[in-house]
Amino acid sequence: MTKWLGLLLTVAVVLVAGAAPWLTAHDPLLADFVASLKPPGTPGHPLGTDQLGRDLLARVLFGARLALFIGVCTVVVTAVVGGLLGLVAGFVERWPSAVLMRLADVQLSFPFILLALTINAIVGLGLRNIILSLSAAGWVVYARVVRGEVLSVKQRDFVQAAAALGMGRARLLFRHVLPNVAPSIIVVASLQFSQFIVAEAAISFLGFGVQPPTPAWGSMLSESRDFLYVAWWLAAFPGAALALTALGVNLLGDWLRDTLDPKLRV
């Protein structure tokens, strides 16, 4: 049951994000001071409007686009970078493996959100830099998981046999080892995805990351704090959208883990 809920929610968020411009007639950036702070249910504004009179539904919908875009980019970057480093470290062992593991230890000695936040404050604000910061803080999980998997896969008979037959190292790695660690990469990606979008929202909420007026759920929640006494909907809907997205992706990730790789602990 939960797997269908996860799939349903995830597909719904993707569809809504993709179809955002067709689902609302409003421009998420267009201010209309006459219609500011209208409650949900106002004709023409089903979720109400914010302090500048911008349509909240449009902003939540376009926020979905941004959240998914950031989540997908970060997951791809971390999977490719972390996955490749993990592959090499697990396959070559000796010093690349030792270096990678110490690097991982160091990186894991900083809480994820603090690391991403600090890097973001240093490299600067904006969309590209938030993806960079999250990736810099998040790649290490893949590297560790992939390295561990490679260490066990390369002991298997079919890899040993291919090596004995004289297959080149690169071919061995990408033809025989990679396909066998791919399921773990997919599982880690799905479990990390919601962590990334929630972290992005948290960082934007704190005033870094994506800046207003861009409709990001985190910065919308940040702005909503000043109006909590008069306009609960500004805090309720962007946060609910974020929570539902995280819920869907989490459930999907749990299901993927149970089917692809039940022993994996992230």
Partner: protein, 306 residues
């Protein structure tokens, strides 16, 4: 056991040294560090004077040696904003963070472990389904959103609790509930799966077969054997909390380490940032070490492979 402890200690020292190096390196990510350390509206001629004063004109190796030497003595320089010892500012915030961390960890353990145990023992009953849904929801709900909603409900609407700040027991309620909600969900899920794993083991069947009471089977044989993953997670979360819950402390204006870090980042007060981040990383490493040593005590098999 002694060799195991020695190996773990050596590793922790290495990680601390490398983490301090990483903090030094991180501040160089953005290029010229002087620009990070300064307010945006500074005059060009002042930049060079400050660069000289903060020692950024020296060779990198010299700067690195100075940073590491200072850091190991607990000297991260002076806060640019408060003109005070940076580490002193960090330590000043520690009691508030400790109080919040201790409360939310206690809350987490009191709620999560019994819940995880109950859902595992009563697997596939109504209790299990309701409990599991609660865990999944708790894990997916972002803490800062939960915080805002609680403020709206209990502070704005019902006026039962203060919106933020510190000073009384009432101030502690919402921040610790927000932190505990997220951690409880994770700890409870892990407890449930760990207990389910153990319940399938042969020695549990043996214990039951030889007529041991259910209370003893669960209380002694099951709990102790499923403790390892629970201790790991609880330890790691405690480490995270001791570094200050950056987001939760900010929402509730809780004067702890996390809020100090966020403010220092916003003020570009980098000596304080470096002190706070280094401190967090060291505490976190020590918590990891503590968890590893607890492993060795809980499960003697772990000691064999350091």
């Amino acid at each position: 056991m002694r060799r195991y402890i020695a190996a773990r200690l050596a590793q922790a020292v290495l990680v601390v040294l490398l983490s301090l190096t990483a903090v030094f390196g991180m501040v160089r990510l953005g290029g010229d560090p002087v620009l990070l350390f300064l307010p945006m509206d500074i005059q060009a001629k002042d930049v060079n004077a400050i660069r000289q004063r903060l020692g950024f004109n020296d060779p990198l190796a010299v700067q690195y040696a100075r940073f590491m030497g200072g850091a190991l003595r607990g000297d991260f320089g002076e806060s640019l904003r408060y003109r005070r010892d940076a580490l002193g500012l960090v330590l000043e915030r520690l009691p508030a963070t400790l109080l919040l961390a201790a409360t939310s960890i206690a809350l987490t353990l009191v709620v999560a472990v019994p819940l995880g145990l109950l859902t595992a023992v009563r697997r596939d009953t109504l209790v299990d389904h309701v409990g599991t849904v609660a865990m999944v929801l708790g894990q997916a709900t972002p803490g800062f959103w939960l915080g805002l909603m609680l403020i709206y409900l209990f502070a704005v609407h019902l006026r039962w609790l203060p919106t933020g700040g510190t000073g009384s027991l009432a101030h502690l309620v919402m921040p610790s509930v927000v932190l505990a909600a997220f951690f409880s969900a994770r700890v409870a899920r892990l407890t449930r799966s760990a207990v389910l794993d153990v319940l399938g083991e042969d020695y549990i069947k043996t214990a039951r077969a030889k007529g041991l009471g259910e209370a003893r089977v669960i209380g002694k044989h099951t709990l102790r054997n499923s403790a390892i993953p629970i201790v790991t997670l609880a330890g790691l979360e405690a480490g995270q909390l001791l570094g200050g819950a950056v987001v939760t402390e900010t929402i509730f204006a809780w004067p702890g380490l996390g809020r100090l870090t966020v403010q220092a980042l916003l003020n570009r007060d980098f000596p304080v940032v470096m002190a706070a981040v280094s401190f967090t990383s060291i505490v976190y490493t020590l918590m990891n070490l503590g968890v590893d040593l607890a492993y060795g005590w809980l499960d003697p098999r772990v000691r064999v492979r350091p």
